[in-house]
């Protein structure tokens, strides 16, 4: 049996952390892109479009992320689409992230007074011009803090990808535990690494929130 020193454990965990960060980034970028599209669909005031967004949000907010991952991974391969654990993880995390971001952003856009839309209309701006020059610049300011705050959920969500066999921080933690039989040490380290990733984001989000509130 191979002996694992503390250094070995840490080295392996650090290596796995890269994949956790990469997966989080991919999911966040994917989620933001999809959420932007969905937000635009919602704002068109077209009933069909709004319905699609509503169903999408309810579907992915109302089911566990783990089930979504299973469906993406096992479900798709049973349907004949070969998908890697990495692909399935990104796909399901993108669904998850976008479904929540759409709702967060909706709240932000809805906090803007209706008068902003009306005033824009009265000086002759089109719908898209109103969005671009009036609504989005204000909504982005409001949305930044909760969006950064939500990225913490995405990072923690990536842990579930270990279940479908994607080798990231949690998966490597489990493997190391199986090899060393030192669950307390290994999982404390794993948790600590997650904390080190998430805590600065929480702080940053709080900072943004404060900054926004002051400038209001």
């Amino acid at each position: 049996m191979i002996e694992f020193s503390n250094y070995d454990i840490l080295r392996n965990l650090m290596f796995a952390t890269q994949w956790t960060i990469l997966l989080s980034l991919a999911a966040f970028i994917g989620g933001t892109t999809v959420a932007l599209t969905l937000t635009a669909m919602r704002l068109t005031r077209n009933p069909t479009m709004q319905r699609i967004v509503k169903i999408y949000v309810e579907l992915f907010q109302g089911t566990p992320l783990l089930m979504q991952m299973f469906l993406c991974f096992f479900g798709l391969s049973m349907l004949g689409y070969e998908i890697s654990a990495w692909g399935a993880a990104i796909l399901s995390l993108t669904f998850f992230t976008s479904a929540f971001l759409v709702e967060i952003w909706r709240g932000c856009i809805d906090t803007l007074p209706k008068g902003q839309w009306e005033a824009s209309r009265c000086i002759g701006l089109s719908f898209l011009q109103t969005l671009r020059f009036i609504i989005l610049p204000q909504a982005i300011r409001v949305a930044t803090a909760p969006t950064v705050g939500f990225s913490v959920q995405v990072i923690k969500g990536t842990a579930l990808a270990s279940v479908i066999g994607f080798v990231e921080l949690t998966k490597v933690g489990t493997m190391l535990n199986n090899a060393t039989f030192e669950p307390f040490k290994v999982f404390t380290l794993v948790a600590l690494i997650y904390f080190i990733l998430c805590y600065p984001l929480s702080l940053y989000s709080k900072h943004l929130e404060k900054k926004f509130n002051v400038s209001r």
């Binding site: 007074p113 008068g115 902003q116 009306e118 005033a119 209309r121 009265c122 000086i123 002759g124 701006l125 089109s126 719908f127 011009q129 020059f133 009036i134 610049p137 204000q138 300011r141």
Partner: protein
Amino acid sequence: MSLVNLHQVHKFYGDHHVLKGIDLDIKAGEVVSIIGKSGSGKSTLLRCINGLEHYQEGGITVDGKEVTTEDIQVRRLALSVGMIFQNFNLFPHMTVGENVMLAPTIVLKKSKAEAETTARAMLEKVGLAEKFDSFPEKLSGGQQQRVAIARALAMSPKVLLCDEITSALDPELVGEVLKVLEQLAKEGITLVLVTHEMNFARDVGSRVVFMHQGKVWEQGDPKTILSNPQTDELKQFMGAVL
């Protein structure tokens, strides 16, 4: 020739009959004050004239063109109708100058320099030339409302609609906004205002329209109608506001 014409306009909010057959004809250069209790349909009437609200029956024309809530129509309408709101509705993320310059650059496709000249002239007119680079939140309510007036004027509208524009202001700030309106009236711009300022209606207005229960109940020359109301409802209303 009439600038704004309403013919038998009916408006419902669900089952609620808000406007019950409004006929109104406003000529260029008139200053029309619409008065009445809250809930009498004054603001709704104003919002129908610029397409912010949909009406179900009758017809409204501004400058001979029909008013609908179709986006493209409303935008064309914005070229001839300006609107000032009770809550100013300035764009808080833009400076005063940018607020005034926005529509002329985007909608009228004026050059930045040209729009800036117009904006400065309009701000000068409302007495706020020095606030060009300030943000709205740094201004008093009265100043914000004057910026809103400048923003509307920058589109050189034929008619300016004012929806209780002094109601959200502290009493000592009302005067400065009314003074600007009075100046505009002297210059001959057509004004339609929903207002509670009876003195303004009497001294500056060319006509008072009293609305009651969704109808034009009584209208006429301000001095005559306000000192000698014909209907009991207007008498009662005058008693309540004075």
